[in-house]
């Protein structure tokens, strides 16, 4: 795929990625955010952060399965949208839910496992967002890849956060967990199955794609 096309795809991602936020604003203006609007916004932004995380994580499995490499260039855009919704999520929690009552927030975080894991996941996304620019990619070199592998931990923590939050019916977090398990299994399969052909090709193509991104 040519650069021109990639730019077009990225623009489409921008438009689509703004839709969940636009929906929240629309519902908010029309007083349609349910009886518990804060919970509604927390749920919606949290769900979209998780969705963008999983979409970001599916770019490499797509490469492994199809040999296609162009979509690797979308990882940063998608990952930053995950960060965007994670920021909205935590802002809603700190501002709308807890009205900046820091002592209550600290208590809530340290006392409740589901908040701890969610908060940890968010804190871990910050260094990834900061180092997502070309300058940092060049500067950190090999360490950049190591650092950004934290994304797997973030994904696991985010799903735990969702799982532990649910009172009894874990159907929804289960679906997200299943997607993550599938995505990670594909990676592990290619890593350990000795599928050298695809492996060599993919390590080459990842270098190419990073260069392209730069």
């Amino acid at each position: 795929m040519k650069n021109k096309h990639i730019i077009f795809v990225k623009m489409a991602i921008w438009v689509c990625a703004l839709l969940p936020l636009a929906r929240l604003i629309w519902l908010g203006v029309h007083d349609d955010l349910s009886a518990n609007p804060v919970e509604f916004i927390e749920r919606s932004t949290g769900t979209w952060a998780l969705a963008f995380l999983l979409i970001t994580l599916s770019m490499t499995p797509i490469r492994l399965l199809t040999g296609q490499v162009w979509q690797i260039q979308l990882r940063r855009t998608l990952g930053l949208w995950m960060f965007f919704y994670a920021c909205l999520h935590i802002t809603t929690y700190v501002w709308l839910d807890y009205s900046f009552l820091w002592s209550d927030i600290v208590k809530d975080i340290i006392k409740h496992p589901y908040v701890i894991v969610g908060f940890t996941a968010f804190m871990l996304t910050i260094p990834l967002a900061i180092t997502s620019n070309n300058f940092m990619i060049k500067r950190l070199k090999k360490n950049w890849k190591k650092l950004h592998q934290v994304v797997y931990l973030i994904a696991i923590l985010a799903i735990l956060h969702f799982w532990w939050l649910v009172k009894k019916d874990v159907t929804e977090p289960f679906y997200y967990a299943a997607v993550l398990v599938i995505l990670l299994s594909i990676r592990l399969y290619y890593k350990y199955s000795g599928n050298k052909h695809l492996n060599s090709k993919s390590s080459l193509s990842s270098k190419v794609s990073i260069n392209k991104a730069i």
């Binding site: 955010l33 009886a35 518990n36 709308l96 839910d97 807890y98 009205s99 209550d104 208590k107």
Partner: protein, 331 residues
């Protein structure tokens, strides 16, 4: 041909094995009816074309059936009521689904009349009472109570009902009755939630006898001056305002007077998270939710949390019942 046809239709020719049993037949008929309703409700939802369709389908105050003849009381004077729309579209009623807006949609098929409650266990004589007779057992009164959910949100609801004490008196329990168990409806036909084993159905709750006859304890039959909407527990539900909301068993079909503390549904589901007493207590945290403060429902996006009070602010009326009880252990 005609003769042949007639002979075929002759009832005497029908094999007994071909006859649909009455129960199956009736079940099928009510199922078809229910399916029809569901289809109608479903298309209404599609037509309204909104994600939060529950709020569009849900009835506004004044559309339900008015309760004639109930008296106002001083309970909750000066409290800011939660809007009717919020009370009737934001429900934890897992028999109709685990989403907060599910019950308002799914409960349209539920039929709260005719209704009888059977009274069993340690009573002089097991008997049952129809909803009509229950309504005449004591004068109906309006009571504005705060409701604190274990999930950290709260409402202020103008219930209409009668003290549970009047039903206990009518039931005439024996000296062995130390606790009361409340069992909710469990009809898989009209309650889609009970088809999945999310909780151990039927929903079961319980109270100690002194809690049951405490003047605060209400059998609610209405809210905002109208008979209860299905999603709020029609036709009759329990209201114990000093306890977390899940103690309020809905659509009660059976009341059992028992000697031992009943094993209630949420205690069974998570004994480390939910206790039998479930008294509102800002000092005892739930593993998931902070219990020291709560989010009031219906006050907009920027409403501040409010501090949760001991026994939800009803210490004066109920505190003495728990004197000497370790509330950290008996949460």
């Amino acid at each position: 041909m005609i003769i042949l046809n007639q002979s075929k239709r002759n009832p005497s020719n029908i094999q007994p094995s071909e006859i649909t049993p009455r129960e199956v037949f009736e079940h099928r008929r009510s199922f078809l009816k229910a399916a029809g309703f569901a289809l109608a409700a479903g298309s209404a939802l599609l037509l309204s074309g909104k994600t939060l369709a529950a709020e569009k389908v849900a009835f506004k105050a004044g559309t339900g059936q008015k309760i004639n003849g109930y008296s106002k009381t001083a309970y909750g004077a000066g409290e800011q009521l939660t809007p009717y729309k919020d009370i009737t579209t934001y429900n934890n009623y897992y028999e109709f689904g685990t989403g907060k807006s599910d019950p308002a949609i799914e409960a349209v098929l539920f039929k709260p009349r005719p209704w009888t409650i059977s009274i069993e266990g340690h009573v002089k004589k097991a008997k049952s009472i129809s909803i009509e007779d229950l309504l005449k057992l004591a004068p109906l009164e309006e009571r504005i109570y705060r409701m604190r959910c274990v999930e950290g949100w709260s409402m202020v609801i103008p219930w209409v009902g009668l003290p549970l004490a009047s039903l206990v008196k009518w039931a005439d329990p024996t000296g062995n009755a130390k606790y009361i168990e409340f069992i909710s409806a469990n009809d898989s036909l009209t309650m889609p939630g009970v088809r999945s084993p999310i909780l151990d159905w039927p929903y079961t709750e319980g109270l100690r006898m002194d809690e049951a006859i405490n003047p605060l304890t209400l059998l609610a039959v209405g809210l905002y001056g109208e008979y209860l909407p299905n999603q709020n527990g029609a036709p009759v539900r329990l209201v114990t305002p000093w306890k977390y909301g899940f103690k309020g068993a809905k659509a009660i079909v059976k009341i059992r007077f028992v000697e031992k503390m009943p094993l209630t549904t949420w205690v069974k589901a998570g004994p480390n998270e939910y206790g039998f007493y479930a008294n509102v207590n800002p000092n005892v945290d739930h593993p998931r939710w902070s219990q020291s403060s709560e989010k009031p429902i219906g006050r907009g996006l920027f409403a501040d949390r409010i501090k949760t009070k001991m026994f939800n602010g009803y210490s004066e009326q109920v505190g003495q019942m728990y004197a000497g009880l370790d509330l950290n252990k008996n949460f």
